[in-house]
Symmetry: C2
Subunit: 209 residues, 2 copies
């Protein structure tokens, strides 16, 4: 199995690094895909939104047929939705993937590739209205949402919750538990400030816990 994670200039670091960690632990401790790839348009180093420099494993040209594709977001996604080469790559690979996933504003790239038509999807709370305005997608305010073979998550850190849920769906709860314990992903419940009481907070955050 081939699992590709797309990167591009100005991609948000944790959008792909969080899912990458969960994905590769899945392959290490359970039955995750043998082939986990960071995919760039070319193999040139990619400078992320906050300055991290990452080298793709494969270019679009070299990339094998993927079984799963994850598209992260970040400020760079705003320009990449107009990059025909990248959008075509996502559309073509997405056609035959068993599942396509996005984190944060990566959902705008899925939308540009025609993969969100009539589907439920989500994005970073700060971009929910912008995604709604595109039309032809049912925007929900969840931590992550699955609609058929399309999985999308809320902002930045939500990609980790998305990946664990995806792993549980594909490999079962035991595998997801092994990944969660290896990653020691038992986050503190501390909430600094009062964002959940603000107007712009996403619906899932306003629900009583």
């Amino acid at each position: 199995m081939n699992f590709g994670i797309l990167i591009f200039n100005q991609v948000e670091e944790l959008d792909f690094a969080g899912p990458w960690e969960m994905l590769t632990l899945w392959s290490k401790v359970a039955d995750g895909p043998e082939n986990c790839l960071i995919v760039g348009e070319t193999k040139s180093a990619v400078t992320c939104a906050k300055g991290l420099s990452v080298n793709p494993h494969v270019s679009f040209e070299e990339c094998p047929k993927l079984d799963y594709l994850l598209v992260p977001g970040g400020i760079g996604a705003r320009t990449q939705v107009n990059n025909r080469i990248l959008v075509d790559f996502v559309a073509n690979q997405g056609q035959h993937c068993q599942a396509v996933l996005s984190v944060c504003t990566g959902s705008f790239i899925l939308h540009a590739a025609g993969l969100l038509s009539g589907k439920k999807a989500t994005t970073h709370w700060g971009s929910l209205e912008r995604l709604r305005a595109l039309g032809n997608v049912q925007v929900v305010e969840e931590r992550y949402v699955r609609d058929g073979n399309v999985w999308t998550s809320a902002g930045i850190s939500a990609g980790m919750d998305l990946m664990l849920a995806f792993i549980a769906s594909v490999s079962g709860e035991t595998a997801a538990g092994q990944v969660q314990s290896q990653a020691e992903y038992y986050p503190a419940s501390t909430r600094y400030g009062d964002f959940e009481h603000q107007e712009q907070a996403p619906a899932y955050l306003k629900q009583p816990t």
Copy 2:
């Protein structure tokens, strides 16, 4: 202010990428350090534990005097504790830093650099006994722990909780809240499997929530 995050071959990806995201958001949305640096022994690309390839911003030689230093862990930390050049770099920078932080088994590198003497510290649950066996450190089983100017966290994903607590300590809860909301770090509380009921689970996880 200069905040350096050390990387080395076989460093665990999320150990540094999680704190990097929180750190750089702190600088973007509040009053975090102006200068956030990924520091390697040389500027050659570093291959992480799960295969991600990252380019350091500066080598040890080029690295400015740091105000803060964060040391991640990973399987590579087991060899780096015997790398005199790296351990000396951490010891020398650590001497004048306002704070030194570690994630996961990065605490073994702090220990090798003499920075944990008589201090409370923690690490990944799978390495707690190994850290205890080193002696001259009081190992606690918390998500993260501060002892004076030394902050250490549990495994892999715990570095994000560490950084938010560190930001709250340095810049206040409002700044930490701004970072948390931008990162949309309101993780799902789902626990897959029953790790928290197993013998080897760290104490903080066994506490009723």
